[in-house]
């Protein structure tokens, strides 16, 4: 405990976290600091050898989150353009997961207060919804169609009035 206090300012300190299903993970303090919750725990000297218990985060998403934070912490400041792009690529690959994992990440990132990841997951979800037909969306997200056929027809006729998108006028040129 005393050792942990002494080294509180040392960014090389490894922080241990424990998933809801009892698995232990380690990450550098700089990485843990990306999580608002972990940062507060560290500041409050709650980070000890036993690890910080994360009661609602399972091992699978936690492993990913540790990956995410470690990667982002290593490249947190003074990014070159190449590094920023590499980080972007990393994010894009990182978030290529199935919806179950996506939900887990979304909820866990929200719980742990990892802002970057939270945004990434939310945007990914929105992007998944965006290009789909209603039926595809119901299928992907397990949503039950609670419209009657008549209602559905009515909505189709309804004028979607706001902000009609403008097609580029290239055909006019």
């Amino acid at each position: 405990m005393a050792a942990a206090t002494d080294d509180a300012g040392d960014s090389n300190e490894m922080i241990r976290v424990v998933s809801s299903d009892g698995e232990h993970f380690e990450m550098p303090e700089a990485a843990a600091n990306l999580s608002l919750v972990l940062r507060h725990m560290i500041e409050d000297d709650c980070a000890d050898a036993a690890g910080i218990p994360l009661a609602v985060v399972a091992a699978k998403p936690l492993a990913k989150i540790v990956d995410y934070c470690t990667k982002h912490a290593a490249k947190s400041s003074g990014l070159t353009i190449e590094e920023a792009e590499e980080l972007k690529r990393f994010d894009a690959e990182f978030i290529e997961v199935d919806t179950d994992m996506l939900y887990d990440l979304l909820v866990a990132a929200d719980f742990m207060g990892v802002e970057g990841l939270s945004k990434l997951a939310v945007q990914r979800t929105a992007d998944l919804i965006k290009g789909k037909t209603p039926e595809q969306n119901r299928e992907t997200f397990g949503i039950v169609n609670d419209f009657t056929p008549e209602e559905e027809e009515e909505i189709c006729k309804e004028n979607e009035w706001a902000f009609q998108i403008t097609k580029p006028p290239s055909r006019l040129c």
Binding site: Y103, D146, I155, N159, W161, A162, F163, I165, T166, C173
Partner: protein
């Protein structure tokens, strides 16, 4: 769209600003109230939903996702289920939720107009998704001059106010105030301004809308200013500006409204400017460095005034209030293709490069500042003809033009072909190129202006340097003004766009008249039939497509321009402020007089050659040419 027929200068003023001008049902579009009665009513609280927004996700997380859906995705997504429909079908609710969640919805509103018909349409650029959208048509007359409006965005309310304006060809200013509500996606008519005005200043300070100056009903510049409380919807007068002034641009910096009259080449008179402080309800003079350097459209970022300098090749500069001077912003200037008037490139790839004729469409704007301030604009079409491929009777032959200009390359004539039924062709320009650049536009050597004064049938020709040139006008044959005026002409090699600006300064009246022609290339052709058709059907019939010119850009959110690329220091340094001294060698030729005075064309040619080879003031007959050094006000 309601049309108001206008028969005099008096009546339209009352009609146009009139609150009687109703919106047609077209503008009151149905919202969710059109839902069948069996649908969940819109006032149902979210807590009453039994189904989750997205199964497997807490509702707040799911809401966070759905609120990020771009509006173009809503049409399909509202069909997924009732809850999604509830959220997405009503934009007021959708945007309100976004606001509650702290999302920003930066939108760039652009006033666009159809170049032929003048029809106005607002385009909206969603800066989150970089997508363009169209909002319902503004309930406004067809012939309103797009540039005359005062447009003010109130981002915190999600509204855009379009005030005043001008009926294009009538010089008739409007009282009208229209409000667009982004959440309702609807236009409404607001209380009209106390004074009808066009080309005026406007800005939002502490949620209140201030307007000042502009052209009034009697075509004189106004000195009055007024303020709108958007909540109460009432206009009230504020302190007078202290000078009568129309405004080309204005900006709000640190709670004060800066109004500039606007710089117009060639800067003979220093543009005026005033600053309003609403806290003390008082105007004061704008610092001299600020008003003289405000040479283009401005935008305020972080209380700094940036100007895209129209007269310095779209260079971006920023005002330094401490030293009352302007600093160049590092990096390249605005790309030429987005020069004001901002526009879309009409012909990507273009037609055959060797086409004999290029057709341009654009607008001529005349503005006279004194004794009566007066401005109007109209739509014209011009042809740019390669004279070697299509000689035009009644104009110089390409060889004659080359002799005059001392060039050996192509000669392109910008003119309105005579066959069109146009009664006058006030200005034609010969663009004379160097031979090394066949077919290229890059090496324009000399221009010859051919000015015809229709009532007297007189024609004046004179050479001028491309780029800009100032020519004294000692000729008694003047189509525009009395003989005391000086002409300054600005023209560059026509490309996808074309512009000619002629300003006339009167030495005693200390004022000037400006005629400008801005046009876009719309077609290349070698067919004389096409040429005839293009001009024959000039008013409205030829389908040439729609090209939008954005005349005013209004940011709903300054975040957009915070973009670091814009101000990035990694670009190489710009050169020091160029010496903009104008080369002013000029010469006049008066073709008709020559024809009268000289018996044969050989003599005329000899005269031309002689005059130009020596290219000195001594060799030029005095009654036709005067030397004059142009003064650049900043040098």
């Amino acid at each position: 769209m309601r049309r108001v027929r206008v028969s005099s200068h008096q009546s339209p003023i009352h009609k146009l600003g009139d609150s009687q001008m109703k919106l047609t049902p077209k503008f009151r579009l149905a919202t969710t109230s059109a839902l069948p009665s069996s649908m969940p009513s819109s006032d149902l609280e979210q807590t009453s939903w039994e189904t989750p927004l997205i199964p497997g996700l807490p509702d707040d997380a799911a809401l966070n996702c759905l609120l990020r859906l771009p509006v173009e995705a809503h049409e399909a997504c509202r069909l997924v289920c009732r809850r999604w429909h509830h959220l997405l079908a009503d934009k007021a609710r959708f945007f309100m939720q976004r606001k509650v969640m702290g999302f920003r919805s930066p939108l760039l509103f652009t006033l666009a107009f159809h170049r032929c018909t003048g029809k106005i349409q607002w385009k909206v650029l969603d800066l989150n998704y970089l997508t363009w959208h169209t909002i319902p048509a503004m309930p406004c007359r067809d012939r309103a001059c797009p540039r005359g409006f005062g447009c003010v965005a109130i981002p915190s309310d999600g509204t855009l106010l379009v005030c005043g304006g001008l009926v294009s060809d009538m010089d008739c200013p409007l009282h009208l105030v229209l409000k667009y509500d982004v959440y309702k996606n609807r236009w409404t008519v607001m209380t009209r301004m106390l004074a009808a005005r066009s080309f005026f200043a406007g800005g939002v300070i502490d949620g209140r809308v201030y307007v000042a100056g502009g052209y009034s009903t009697d075509q004189f510049e106004l000195n009055s200013a007024e303020v709108l409380d958007p909540v109460k919807g009432v206009w009230q007068p504020v302190a007078s500006m202290g000078m009568n002034m129309a405004s080309s641009d204005s900006a709000v910096i640190s709670g004060r409204l800066y109004v500039t009259e606007g710089c117009a080449w060639p800067f003979f008179s220093s543009p005026r400017g005033q600053v309003y402080d609403p806290k003390i309800d008082r105007w004061e003079a704008m610092p001299v460095g600020m008003r003289e350097g405000w040479t283009g459209l401005s935008v305020v970022i972080d209380e700094h005034l940036f100007v895209i300098s129209e007269y310095e090749r779209m260079k971006v500069k920023v005002y330094d209030p401490e030293t009352d001077s302007w600093d160049s912003v590092k990096g390249p200037p605005m790309p030429e293709r987005i020069m004001k008037p901002f526009s879309r490139r009409p012909l990507p790839g273009g037609g055959p490069a060797t086409a004999a004729v290029r057709l341009y469409e654009g607008r001529v704007r005349h503005s006279r500042r004194r004794p009566a301030a007066h401005a109007f604009e109209y739509h014209v079409r011009y042809a740019l003809v390669d004279l070697d491929r299509l000689p035009l009777p009644g104009h110089l032959s390409p060889d004659e033009a080359r002799l005059i200009a001392s060039t050996s390359g192509p000669v392109h004539l910008l003119t309105i072909p005579k066959s069109v039924g146009y009664e006058q062709n006030p200005l034609s320009i010969y663009y004379c190129y160097d031979s090394a650049e066949q077919g290229q536009d890059g090496n324009l050597k000399m221009c010859i202006a051919e000015v015809t004064n229709t009532p007297w049938g007189e024609r004046v020709m004179f050479t001028f340097q491309p780029g800009s040139d100032l020519v004294a006008k000692p000729l008694h044959v003047s189509p525009f003004m009395d003989m005391l005026g000086n002409w300054s002409i600005r023209a560059e090699s026509p490309g996808d766009t074309l512009y000619v600006v002629i300003s006339v300064q009167h030495p005693t009246l200390d004022n000037y008249f400006t005629a400008s022609f801005h046009a876009k290339l719309v077609e290349k052709t070698s067919s004389s039939l096409r040429l005839a058709t293009f001009f024959w059907l000039m008013p409205h019939k030829v389908a040439v497509g729609i090209y939008w010119e954005a005349v005013r850009l209004w940011l709903k959110n300054v975040k957009f321009l915070d973009h670091p690329r814009y101000l990035n220091a990694s670009y190489r340094d710009e050169a020091q402020k160029r010496n903009l001294e104008i080369r002013s060698s000029c010469s006049f030729l008066q073709k008709q007089k020559m024809n009268d005075q000289r018996s044969g064309s050989a003599d005329e040619t000899a005269e031309i050659t002689n005059h130009h080879d020596q290219n000195g003031e001594e060799s030029v007959p005095k009654r036709w040419c005067v030397w004059r050094d142009a003064q650049w006000p900043w040098s």
